[in-house]
């Protein structure tokens, strides 16, 4: 029995070792987001708390912790409290399978990419639960919008993942990265990378697809009734999700922890550095797009998802499959 407790202790230690950096980097990334947003609009952005304003998010989080949590009288209390917890937990749980380097991964499972896909498709529950339990009109409208939006864009993300999997021949995230040793998939599958990026924006409710919380139409969407720590949890979960999508894009298309070219000065830089740099690069694109693109109209959003992305990625899937088949490059499975 003592053995099991020891193993359990080790696991808890490992999980903390993963979670605390993620939470800290979420805080830093929020700062980066606001900073980029400010720079694009010729403002300074947060620059007062700490050096370059780095501690702004921590100050904000402290403020949220000490605020009173208000629960509407007509809300369904259990679901209302559960919703931010679900969002936050799901956003953090997905990180268990992300390989930071070849041996720095919490759990190396065979169906890693499916696990990621499943967890990101569960993310919609936090939003629906929050919107419904608030028992108020704007949150409910926001929840309905976001449910439809996330379900739609998951479809095209699924097909894009199939595209990559066809080239790899394995569902393991490590294998996916190692298969890109010669050529990152962003080169042959560039259109898919673009579509993946846009779908990731829609999946995480980022501008220009932030219709669930469109402040001009819906006050703040599903989080209108939330306050204090519960709002902060929604907010942290959202950013953890964005980072997760960036990590997913890095693993699927940008070659994970692999250096740009495998030559001397580049390959002595440790692998986690490359991974983090690529995630940050994608996040920077996310932040820039938030600042420069206006919000989509809802019917345009649906049209883009169903009538453009879905057929296009299906056609590209057929193209990829035929190419691999014709040139006899389909990955072989040991039988």
């Amino acid at each position: 029995m003592i053995e099991y407790i020891q193993i359990l202790g080790q696991e808890v230690y490992k999980i903390l070792f993963l979670l605390i950096p993620i939470l800290v980097s979420v805080a830093m990334v929020v700062w980066l987001d606001r900073r980029v947003w400010g720079l694009v609009q010729k403002r300074r952005g947060p620059n007062v708390v700490g050096p370059f304003g780095l501690f702004q998010t921590i100050a904000d989080a402290l403020k949220y912790i000490f605020k009173e949590i208000i629960i509407p009288a007509s809300a369904n209390k259990v679901v209302f409290i559960l919703a931010p917890i679900v969002t936050m937990t799901l956003a953090l749980v997905a990180w268990a399978v992300i390989p930071i380097s070849e041996d720095l991964v919490l759990s190396d499972i065979n169906v890693g990419i499916l696990y990621l896909f499943a967890v990101s498709s569960l993310g919609v529950y936090g939003i629906i639960m929050g919107g419904w339990a608030s028992n108020s009109k704007y949150p409910f409208l926001g929840a309905i919008r976001s449910a439809a939006q996330m379900v739609s864009y998951e479809v095209s993300i699924g097909i894009i993942i199939i595209n990559v999997l066809l080239c790899v021949g394995s569902l393991n995230l490590k294998d996916i990265v190692l298969a890109q040793k010669e050529l990152w998939y962003v080169v042959p599958l560039f259109p898919m990378f673009v579509i993946f990026f846009i779908s990731a924006l829609a999946e995480t409710n980022r501008p220009p697809f932030d219709l669930p919380e469109a402040e001009a139409e819906l006050v703040a969407g599903y989080q209108t009734e939330y306050s204090g720590m519960m709002y902060a949890m929604f907010w942290l979960g959202e950013y953890a999700n964005i980072l997760l999508m960036c990590a997913m894009g890095t693993i699927l298309f940008l070659g994970g922890w692999l250096p740009i070219i495998d030559i001397y000065p580049l390959n002595i830089i440790p692998a986690p550095f490359w991974m983090i740099a690529k995630i940050l690069f994608l996040f920077l694109l996310f932040a820039l797009i938030k600042a420069i693109v206006p919000r989509y109209r809802y019917d345009q959003l649906m049209r883009l998802g169903w009538k453009i992305f879905l057929p296009f990625s299906l056609v590209y899937l057929i193209l990829t499959a035929s190419f691999l088949f014709y040139f006899d490059k389909l990955p072989k499975v040991g039988i």
Binding site: V79, V124, Y125, F140, I144, A147, V151, E154
Partner: protein
């Protein structure tokens, strides 16, 4: 092994408890939430047995898509709390039907399990786990070779169901202005601007 069985009992107790709550809880929303919990714990059981692909697909398809639609419908219909009379002791008309259906399902299960036992060349699940290729590869090797016809047929049935549902709910609205993206994009200054000679006291019509 002891940890394995602890986990097994943990997930199966949650699964059974939540499936009971699906049919006994008073508000329909809670029923749907318990259904989701049930799906998740059954998915975990699948993964524990070594069928990781099935477990993940269960999560993606049922929890990620089907249950979302359930939740959607229940929320939109705004069904208030149901008064379940059979708790309190009044007579309910649902019990006989429910009993018949559940007895039928039990019989079917018995037949299936019985038939499985006497089938000759059944691979035991342990050989599947022992072999060195992964669960997903094994499924693919079987599904796209021996059972390709059934696989494709299942797909076509689903497609037909989808087309049917769309056809049933489709209605063409008249008098609605639609945005034509092709027309908008292909506009050029020469077609977009039109010069009209306006005669005094007569004006022009610009709306056609």
């Amino acid at each position: 092994m002891i940890v394995h069985s602890i986990f097994f009992y943990f997930f199966s107790i949650i699964a059974i408890f939540s499936s009971l709550m699906v049919i006994t809880s008073r508000s329909t929303i809670n029923s749907v939430f318990f259904l989701i919990l049930d799906f998740i714990s059954v998915g975990c059981l699948f993964i524990m047995v070594g069928a990781e692909f099935l477990g993940m697909i269960l999560l993606i398809v049922y929890v990620g898509a089907v249950a979302v639609l359930f939740l959607f419908v229940v929320m939109m219909l705004n069904v208030a709390e149901q008064k379940q009379s059979w708790f309190i002791g009044k007579k309910s008309t649902h019990i006989p039907t429910g009993l018949i259906v559940s007895v039928l399902i039990l019989l079917e299960l018995l037949v299936v399990v019985g038939g499985w036992k006497y089938k000759e060349d059944v691979m035991s699940s342990s050989t599947l786990i022992m072999s060195d290729i992964s669960n997903t590869h094994q499924l693919g090797l079987v599904m796209y070779t021996d059972y390709i016809l059934y696989f494709q047929l299942a797909g076509i049935v689903l497609l037909l169901a989808m087309i049917g549902a769309i056809l049933l709910t489709f209605r063409e609205r008249v008098g609605v202005k639609k945005q034509s993206y092709i027309n908008q994009i292909s506009r050029s200054p020469s077609t977009a601007i039109e010069l009209k000679e306006v005669r005094s006291n007569q004006g022009v019509k610009i709306d056609d």
